[in-house]
């Protein structure tokens, strides 16, 4: 048995399809949804834990890719250099999970690592380049 954590990006047209339930049934896996969101681009974004035979996990991932889902391993770590961050806010609109968010009162931009799915979108968007992704 193995466990694997992955990030799934669903294009709009797949949003109402039972992709995950079909995949886990087909490949006899159990799963755990760690996070699910609809992004501003109307894409679905899900962080999923899959458990089962290693070969079945690989096959399930392959099958989901064939259905048009973008699959990414969640093995990356994103950090922010707080000294470098100016609280400008340029990142908040590109972050798909609100891991980067602005406090309405203080106007400070917080980074919540637990919400981050390591998509890396913020890294080149942050003007002073305070965000980095580690593999």
């Amino acid at each position: 048995m193995a466990e694997s954590r992955i990030v799934l990006h669903f294009p709009k047209k797949l949003l109402d399809q039972p992709v995950i339930s079909t995949a886990v049934e087909r490949y006899k896996l159990s799963f755990n949804i760690l996070r699910a969101d609809i992004t501003q681009d109307q894409e679905g974004l899900m962080v999923l834990g899959l458990e089962g035979e290693p070969k079945s996990i690989d096959d399930a991932v392959e099958w989901m890719r064939e259905q048009g889902v973008r699959v990414q391993p969640l093995e990356k770590d994103v950090t922010r250099d707080d000294e470098r961050c100016t609280d400008c806010g340029a990142c908040i609109v590109v972050c798909p999970t609100n891991a980067l968010a602005m406090d309405a009162q203080s106007r400070e931009v917080s980074f919540s690592a637990d919400k981050c799915v390591a998509c890396g979108i913020c890294v080149p968007v942050c003007p002073p380049r305070a965000m980095s992704i580690h593999f």
Binding site: Q40, D41, T86, D87, C88, G89, A90, C91, I92, V93, V94, M102, A104, S106, R107, E108, P124, V125, P127, P128, R129
Partner: protein, 405 residues
């Protein structure tokens, strides 16, 4: 009742001056009214911290042995302008590294440029200078490759042709079928984001909309140092539409600024990279407005709800000078996180740091209270709506045959 600069400066010297930030002044004017506020408050400090592309620094590196009249120069591989006397250089904020891939693979990352050189100098880091020259009888040297540190320079001062835009556009993307990469950041397709860039109620020129107290010679906060306004900024255009309170509903006034780079703090001088656009300098600037009378008190009481900005499409209209704004929106609405554009809800994203703007206004307040920052009456006012030099688009006269006028 009105006060003079001299009276206020005397209070600064004696430590009796009453200073508040422009943010604090909002409630004071709302509670007491402008008349009483003017009697009570002497100075209102402002601040802004955001990308200011039209910035750069003059450096005099001193004469080498043998002497050299520098022809071309690079600082950390970023070209600096050397078309001046022998060892004077100007490093512009937006100049990318010589071999930067730019937008050849769109969107380019623009990782390093002139603004980063300026930040590194301010932070006291060594910067590599490479230079070449054709050589003359008086300046025989032809090549130079040396480390350079700000402490070894004769002069190092920031001289910025345009800072502190009085107000600015809100950028949206209506027509492109992809996100666009602009100096306003990433603007998301399908009216997916509204990007704005102003400190609003804390912003220097929004608190003095008719430039009554800011002009040539005014002392300012620039990048953590005390500097001055030397001229109106380029594209200074005070004649546009204004609100009832006199606040411009778009771009309008700008400042030309100067200050000693050696006195600056890297916290307020930050090299930034805009994906797909280029390099810029995020710079902190603040002013101290003397509350000479009721009218100035009223102006400094301006709040985010009273200031509006035009919503402009950056996917087509801006680039081609076409179309009209999709209306105006207040900074209070922009700061709520969501606005409505053409009936659609659009999330907002700022580019200028309100946190740091507030910090700058606070620091300047401390300086004034501690007697470290005296106010200067402008030697000459900036052009106002009645005597503006105007603002023209480029007069394009394509060259088809030989000879102009």
């Amino acid at each position: 009742m009105s006060k003079t600069y001299e009276e206020i400066n005397a209070k600064i010297r004696s430590g009796d001056v009453v200073v508040v930030t422009a943010e604090e002044m909002v409630d004071i004017v709302a509670d007491l009214g402008p008349k009483e506020a003017a009697a009570k408050i002497d100075v209102v400090t402002t601040g802004t911290f955001g990308p200011m592309c039209s910035s750069g620094a003059f450096l005099n590196i001193g004469h080498s042995t043998p002497r050299m009249k520098i022809g071309k120069a690079w600082l950390n591989d970023v070209p600096a302008y050397a078309g001046l006397a022998a060892v004077d250089l100007y490093i512009g904020a937006t100049e990318p590294t010589e071999d930067d891939p730019l937008n050849r693979e769109h969107p380019g990352e623009f990782k390093y440029g002139g603004a980063h050189v300026i930040e590194d100098l301010v932070a006291g880091k060594d910067v590599r200078l490479r230079a070449d020259a054709y050589g003359t009888d008086c300046y025989p040297r032809k090549e130079l490759d040396s480390w350079l540190n700000i402490r070894d320079l004769n002069e190092a001062y920031m001289l910025n042709p345009r800072n502190a835009y009085q107000n600015y556009n809100v950028a949206v993307n209506k027509f492109a079928d992809r996100d666009i990469y602009t100096y306003m950041g990433v603007v998301k397709k399908g009216l997916g984001s509204a990007n704005y860039c102003s400190a609003g109620q804390l912003s220097p020129l929004l608190n003095d909309p008719y430039y009554r107290t800011i002009g040539i010679g005014s002392r300012i906060f620039l990048g953590g140092a005390q500097g001055f306004v030397y001229w109106q900024g380029t594209q200074h255009e005070p004649t546009g539409a204004r609100t009832e309170g006199g606040v411009p509903k778009g771009g309008a006034g700008t400042l030309g600024t100067v200050a000693d780079l050696k006195q600056m703090d890297p916290r307020y001088v930050v090299g930034v990279s805009f994906l797909g656009y280029g390099v810029s300098l995020a710079l902190g600037l603040g002013t101290a407005i003397p509350v000479l009378d009721e009218e100035i008190a009223a102006c400094t009481g301006v709040s985010d709800a009273d200031i509006v900005a035009p919503i402009i499409d950056y996917s087509h209209n801006y680039g081609l000078n076409e179309g009209k704004p999709f209306g105006h929106v207040s900074y209070a609405d922009l700061k709520s996180g969501e606005i409505e554009v053409e009936g659609q809800k659009v999330p907002t994203t700022p580019l200028s740091s309100y946190v740091r703007a507030r910090e700058i206004a606070g620091e300047l307040k401390d300086w004034v209270q501690a007697g470290k920052f005296q106010l200067v009456e402008p030697i000459q006012s900036l052009p106002g709506p009645d005597n503006s030099p105007g603002f023209k688009l480029f007069n394009n006269r394509p060259v088809e045959e030989e000879g102009g006028e």
